[in-house]
C-alpha cells in the first residue's frame, strides 16, 4: 500500500499545475447560468482544449491525453486548487461521453466527441420529467418511429444549462405498450430543432440554471439514437455508474474548498464555536480524496464500480453542505452578502437532490451493499 507517484505521473501533474498557474483567469468568470457567463465559459473551454486539458482521460484522437484514472484525479485536484472555472459542459463530458464510449457507434464518436471536447456543443441532460423525478422509469415522453428516425413528443424538466445549451440527451418511451424500464430509447436531440421549446426556470439565485424542454413532434434522425431502441434503460445505467462520470465526483473540488475554509477560519481569528466543524470538513475532504484513490486502485485492477458510488454521493453531498454552512457561520453577519461562500452554499444545497436524492442513495446502499430486504422504491 503506498501513495507515491511514479515519475511519469509526477511529470503529468507538474505540467498540469504549470499550465493552470499560467492560464486560469485572474478574475472569476460570470456564472454560466447567464448569457455572458456562458459565452465566457465556452471561451475558457476552448483554451483548455487547445492545450489538451479539457478531456484528459479521453483518447488522443478525440482531443484527450489518454490519461489514466489516477492522472485524471490528480488533474482535477490541480484544477480546483488553481481556482479554475466550473465545467460548463460537465453533463456532456462526464455523462454522455462515457455512454458514447461504451455504446456509441464510431460515426457518433467521431461526429460528437471532438465538438464536445471544445464545448462547441454544450450538452444538457434531459432525464427528469414533471411526473418522473426519483422514479425516472415512470417517464412519459414518447418517441414514435418514422421514416429515417423518430418523432419525439413530451416534456422534460429541471434540465441544467438547457437554457443556453445546444443539444440534449435523454430517454423516451419508444414502445407505447411497454412499462417502466422496458421499451425506452436513448436519444440525442438538437435543442434548436423545429418543435423544441426551451423555457428557462430561475433557480434560488435568480439565474436561469434550469429549463423545461417541450418537444412537439420533433424529428430525431436514426444517427442520433444511442444503442438499440428499447434498450435505453441499460444504456442509461452506464451513464449513471460510469467510473469516469460524476459518480466518481472529483475530490479536488472538496479539498480545495476545505483548504479555503481552514484559511477563512484562521483569518477570522480561529472562532472556537466553529473549530470542530472546520476540522471535520477538512477530515471529510481528505477522507474522500483517499477513498477515491482506493477506488482508482480497484478499478485499475479491473473491478467494476457498483453501488459504492452511492456511498460516494451520500458522503460528498453531506460534506459539501456542512462545509458551506460552517463557512457562513464563520462569516457572521456578512454571511448574507452575495459572494463566493453564499453562492457555494446555495449550490451545495442541491447536492442531496440532483443525481438521485440522498433518500434514494440510502436505499441503494442498504439494499445492494448491505443486502437488506427490498422495499417499496
Amino acid at each position: 500500500m503506498d501513495l507515491d507517484l511514479d515519475e511519469r505521473t509526477l511529470a503529468f501533474r507538474d505540467e498540469a499545475r504549470a499550465w493552470l498557474a499560467a492560464n486560469v483567469p485572474a478574475e472569476p468568470l460570470k456564472s454560466f447560468d447567464t448569457a455572458e457567463g456562458f459565452a465566457q465559459h465556452r471561451e475558457w473551454e476552448c483554451r483548455l482544449a487547445d492545450a489538451r486539458w479539457s478531456v484528459v482521460s479521453w483518447p488522443r484522437e478525440f482531443g484527450g491525453r489518454d490519461a489514466s484514472l489516477l492522472e485524471w484525479v490528480l488533474f482535477e485536484e490541480e484544477y480546483y486548487a488553481a481556482g479554475a472555472p466550473l465545467r460548463v459542459n460537465q453533463n456532456g463530458i462526464f455523462m454522455l461521453a462515457p455512454t458514447l464510449f461504451s455504446h456509441g457507434t464510431e460515426e457518433q464518436q467521431r461526429r460528437i466527441l471532438p465538438k464536445m471536447a471544445r464545448s462547441e456543443e454544450v450538452w444538457a441532460q434531459a432525464w427528469s420529467e414533471p411526473e418522473a423525478g426519483s422514479d425516472i422509469a415512470a417517464l412519459r415522453s414518447t418517441a414514435t418511429r418514422c421514416d429515417g428516425g423518430w418523432r419525439v413528443s413530451g416534456q422534460k424538466t429541471w434540465s441544467s444549462r438547457a437554457t443556453f445549451a445546444d443539444r440534449a440527451f435523454g430517454l423516451f418511451r419508444s414502445d407505447p405498450d411497454s412499462v417502466r424500464h422496458k421499451g425506452l430509447i436513448y436519444l440525442m436531440v438538437d435543442l434548436r430543432a423545429e418543435g423544441v421549446t426551451v423555457r428557462p426556470i430561475p433557480q434560488l439565485d435568480g439565474e436561469p440554471g434550469f429549463a423545461e424542454i417541450f418537444f412537439d413532434d420533433v424529428f430525431v434522425p436514426d444517427q442520433d439514437v444511442i444503442g438499440a431502441p428499447g434498450e435505453g434503460w441499460r444504456v442509461a445505467m452506464t451513464t449513471a455508474n460510469n467510473e469516469r462520470g460524476l459518480s466518481l465526483r472529483s475530490p479536488g473540488r472538496f479539498l480545495a474548498a476545505a483548504d479555503r475554509l481552514v484559511s477563512l477560519w484562521h483569518d477570522a481569528g480561529r472562532p472556537a464555536h466553529t473549530a470542530d466543524r472546520v476540522a471535520d470538513a477538512w477530515i471529510g475532504a481528505r477522507a474522500y480524496q483517499l477513498y477515491t484513490l482506493g477506488t482508482v486502485t480497484r478499478l485499475s485492477d479491473g473491478a467494476e464500480l457498483g453501488p459504492e458510488s452511492s456511498v460516494n454521493k451520500l458522503f460528498w453531498s453531506h460534506l459539501d453542505v456542512a462545509l458551506h454552512e460552517t463557512a457562513l457561520d464563520i462569516l457572521g453577519p456578512d454571511a448574507e452578502l452575495r459572494g463566493a461562500w453564499s453562492d457555494g452554499w446555495l449550490f451545495s444545497l442541491a447536492g442531496p437532490i440532483y443525481g438521485g436524492t440522498d433518500q434514494i442513495q440510502r436505499s441503494i446502499v442498504a439494499e445492494r451493499l448491505l443486502g437488506l430486504p427490498k422495499g417499496a422504491r
Binding site: 500500500m1 503506498d2 472546520v278 481528505r286 484513490l293
Partner: protein, 309 residues
C-alpha cells in the same frame, strides 16, 4: 500509487478473523472485567502464535519489524472481535519506546505492557496483568506501580492510577510511539464499528414486526446506510494515516473512526431495541468499548485541534 491492501495483508486479516471467530471473546471480556485474566490470556497466546505480538518488534529481537499498515490491519480485527487486554500498549506503543531485550519476550507473547502517556493517556490500562509498566512524560520513561483501580465505562478495560517510580532514561521515540498508539486505537474503533454494523444488519434482516423484517422499513435502512457510509470513508483515512504517519492524518483518522464507530454503536442499539440494552447481549460490550476508545489516546477535541494547527 497503489492504495489497497496487499494480498498478504488481506490474508493476515482473514487468519486473524478465522482464529477469533472460533474463540469466545465475549465471555473472555466478562471474565477480564471480573479480574479473571485466564481466558483473555489464552487468546493472547494464540494471537502471539499468529505473530500479532511480534508485529512492530524489530527483527533483532525476533519481531517482524512490520509496517504501521500491518499494525492497522491487525488492530482492526482485534477491534472487530473486541479482544480484551493491553494490545495497544504492548504491541503498538512499547516497541517504539525501547531498544531492549525485553522486546524479545513481547514478540513471543510472554510480556504484556501497560503504558501511561502524559497528558493524553493519564490512566494505565490493565496494569494488574502487565509485567512491563512504563509512564512516558516529555520524552522520558519512568517505571510506575499501579495505584487505585478506576472503573471504566467499559468494565473490561481495567484502568489504574500510575504511581511514578524510577526514571529509566530517554524514550527511544516517544512521538512515533504516540502516533502508533493513536493509530491502533483508531483501527480498533473502525473494527468495532464494523462488527456493530454487520450485527445490526443481520438482526434487521431477521427480526420481524408488523409482519415483515424491520430491515425492510426505509427508516431502518437509511440509518444503517449512514453507518455504512461513515465506516467506508473512515477506512481510507486509517490506512492513509498508516502510510504517511503524518500527525494531521493520524488525527483525522482517530476522529473519523471514532465518529463512525460511535454512530454505529448508537444506531446498533436503536436497531436492536431493548435486547441491545441488556448486559447479556454482545452489543453492550462493543458500545461501551467504543465510548472508552473515543476518549483514549487523545480526545476528539485534541485531535481536531491537531488537524487545524
Amino acid at each position: 500509487m497503489r492504495f489497497a491492501l496487499s494480498g498478504e495483508q488481506e490474508q493476515f486479516s482473514r487468519s486473524l478473523h478465522d482464529l477469533l471467530s472460533g474463540v469466545d471473546t465475549d465471555s473472555a471480556n466478562r471474565s477480564w472485567a471480573a479480574g479473571d485474566h485466564g481466558p483473555g490470556l489464552k487468546i493472547w497466546r494464540r494471537l502471539a502464535e499468529l505473530g500479532v505480538t511480534a508485529l512492530a518488534v524489530p527483527e533483532k529481537y525476533d519481531g517482524f519489524g512490520a509496517t504501521p499498515v500491518d499494525l492497522a490491519v491487525g488492530f482492526e480485527r482485534l477491534g472487530y472481535h473486541c479482544v480484551p487486554g493491553p494490545w495497544t500498549d504492548t504491541v503498538a506503543v512499547l516497541p517504539s519506546l525501547l531498544d531492549d531485550e525485553l522486546l524479545t519476550s513481547v514478540a513471543s507473547g510472554e510480556t504484556l505492557a501497560s503504558v501511561a502517556f502524559a497528558p493524553h493517556v493519564p490512566y494505565a490500562l490493565d496494569s494488574d496483568v502487565a509485567d512491563a509498566r512504563l509512564a512516558v512524560e516529555k520524552g522520558r520513561l519512568r517505571a510506575f506501580t499501579p495505584g487505585a483501580l478506576l472503573s471504566s465505562v467499559d468494565g473490561s478495560r481495567r484502568l489504574f492510577q500510575p504511581v511514578a517510580g524510577d526514571d529509566l532514561g530517554t524514550a527511544l521515540d516517544a512521538e512515533h510511539a504516540f502516533e502508533l498508539g493513536c493509530l491502533a486505537t483508531a483501527a480498533q474503533l473502525l473494527g468495532t464499528g464494523r462488527w456493530l454494523l454487520d450485527t445490526s444488519v443481520a438482526y434487521a434482516a431477521q427480526r420481524k414486526q408488523y409482519g415483515r423484517e424491520i430491515g425492510g422499513y426505509q427508516a431502518v435502512k437509511h440509518l444503517l446506510a449512514d453507518v455504512a457510509t461513515g465506516l467506508a470513508l473512515a477506512e481510507p483515512l486509517l490506512f492513509g494515516a498508516a502510510v504517511t504517519l503524518d500527525r494531521r492524518d493520524v488525527s483525522a483518522a482517530k476522529v473519523a473512526c471514532g465518529d463512525a464507530a460511535h454512530l454505529a454503536a448508537r444506531t446498533g442499539l436503536q436497531v436492536h431495541g431493548a435486547i441491545g440494552y441488556t448486559a447479556e447481549h454482545a452489543l453492550g460490550l462493543r458500545l461501551t468499548r467504543v465510548r472508552a476508545l473515543v476518549g483514549a489516546w487523545g480526545t476528539p477535541r485534541f485531535h481536531r485541534e491537531r488537524v487545524l494547527s
